[in-house]
Amino acid sequence: MDKVAIIGVGQTRYERGNTKSFAELVYEVTRKALDDAGLELDNIDNVVTTTNDFYDGRTIACMAVAEASGSYGRDATNVEGDGTLSAFYGLMRTLSGVYDATIVTTHCKMSEGNPRKLFNQAFDPIYDRILGMDAISSSALQARAYMDRYGVTEEQCAMVSVKNHANARNNPYAHVALEITIDDVMKSPMLAEPIKRLDISPISDGACAIILATEERARKSAKKPVWVRGVAHCTDAYRLGERDLTYSAALETAAKKAYKMAGIRNPFKQIDVAEVYDAFSYMELMWYEGLGFCDRGKGGKLVESGKTQMGGELPVNPSGGVLSAHPVQVAGLARIAEAVLQLRGEAGGRQVPGAKTALAHGITGICGQTHCVWVLSNEEA
């Protein structure tokens, strides 16, 4: 892969009930990313937006953010899915040799919709929707299967919630920052056994944008470039009954491919900071395993060891992760943006000192059907 760098990032503060329109949200982050990169729109020749007609409540939802993302008069395209996939497509367009600088945007105003009904629409229309399946109920099945197989405990899941909500206190963009204990999580209201109120991510509005550039363009940028060292995505089976819900083979496949590109043999040692898509607390433990941070079934032990806390060997989700802000389709791109801030040493109170290699991870679909893994570094290949 030729060298491509991320040279600009922009995020809104994540909150519920943001009164800005889709276009205003996207304009805010487009402007921030351009300012961050020290660029004007004239320097951008390619735009990738991210929309979803269900979440946005309009058909051809990309129309609503076209001007705000700066795509008028430029080559543009639109991805539906997590922002890590939009960024991946932006990377491919940048690598094609046709474009110099690509802006990737994504937005979410889930507060205007009914998330349970919208996620229900992702289930099989004949067999599953009628059961009222949604993100929480399906994830509860996955959490139960995972815990049952490997003996992971509810307390270990709660530790993820305590860690990430505490980390969020250092992140000015976070939606839900809390000082809580394992006991608080355990006593929070049961939503779908074994998932409790404090095990789940909030419904957040917000937007994020990044700018990808060719090597030549990146060398002229205002900020130190963050180089894309490896990236891959992979999709598992659709129906929950056809998947091994207790282990994500798709994540393992994507991670191995990204690691191979990046020359990473021992991810736990070689990665300095990771931002993973913890939509539910148990997910972070499962993703540790799929990402090869620990052996299968050992995610609970890993969080218990404290090695993934701030100050640990491999801090995971210094930003507070998705548990502290969950703008759907934005959350994966926000992981990339946070990884970039870490590698520039600009992550403020949530900075992992001396981070050189960072991992960002996104998911799409029910119970993490699709995974996308990014390895970024402030050092060139």
Binding site: T59, I60, Y72, T77, R93, Q121
Partner: protein
Amino acid sequence: MGTRTAIVGVGQTYHTSKRKDVNGQELINEAVRRALEDADLTLKDIDAIVIGNMDHFEAINCVDCWSVDGSGAFMKPIMKVTTGGSTGGTLGSCAYYHVASGLFDVVMAIGWEKNSESDTQAAISTCADPILERDFFGGAIGPNAAEYAMYMKQYGASEEDAAMVAVRDHNNALNNPYAHLRKHITVEDVMNSPVLCWPIKLLDSCPRSDGACAVIYAAEGRAEKIASRPAWVHASAVSHDYVYFGDYDWEAMPTLEATASRVYKRAGIVNPLKEIDVMELYLPFSTCGVIWMEHMWVCGRGESPRLIREGVFDMDGELPVNPSGGVLSTNPIGATALIRIGEAALQIMNKAGSRQVPNVNTAMATAFGSCYWFEATILRSGKP
């Protein structure tokens, strides 16, 4: 600077207004199997998949995830792209960039739609701004009708000029075994068909179809081994207009002009009428087949009706347009523009059967949708 990329396989379903014999995944699979068969490949050879449709036509969220049983994406990379009517063009360029990036060798694009499961025009109407424009945006037909009414007034064109385009496309469809509408028609038939939104009549208008299309792209090195005559991608371009329909300049068509100019420049084309051998154009209404030729720089302003009357765009003319029968004969929306690319590729590959134009070396395909979002692709028999 980018891996050279070619189309090596094309597959499409049969199309009709209601494909009650298959569900969505089965419909997708029908196109996938045909594309694999066409390229003599198996699913194992496919490194990545891109898929697209319009969400509100089938009401399935996360189609990339749901479609795995049909697309064959199990334990493979798949992503979804969508831009309304132009989705098929967006899909083709997405697969092209997958390969051109050097990250994937063989990539399949899949477009599909089961329009029969939706109220198409009602779903399209929700693309307009919910506060300012949705109440009076009556679906896709109004803007194109207004566009041709203005054109007729400005250049003295007639309803018959558009009808001749309808006759051309519909009658070309008689040579296409995959086409949805296959019936011989005359200019009188078009003129006597019911007015939908003046000056557009029923036979000037595209149908809505159930169907799917899959197109396989491969990198230089693989492509020549897969296909004896691959269709090389020389350029892809896109541009779109403003968000609010009220902001458009309906007579200038700046986005089609920008897309055409950009794709010609990238492919080194100076005179499209002379240098392009066949075009598969996304013409949702026959009226577009009059006006848009000018904005694609095929001829000067107001000259299109004369060229149409002279038969320049007929099968035996200088620049045959829509040998397949085009959108007027087949329109599974998320697949429609990918079919244009697939048909253009078949012409280059010399596999278009009885709709084959002789000696095609350069072909152009376009896509149209959303906020006057135009995409264009130039394919050639020679490498870029």
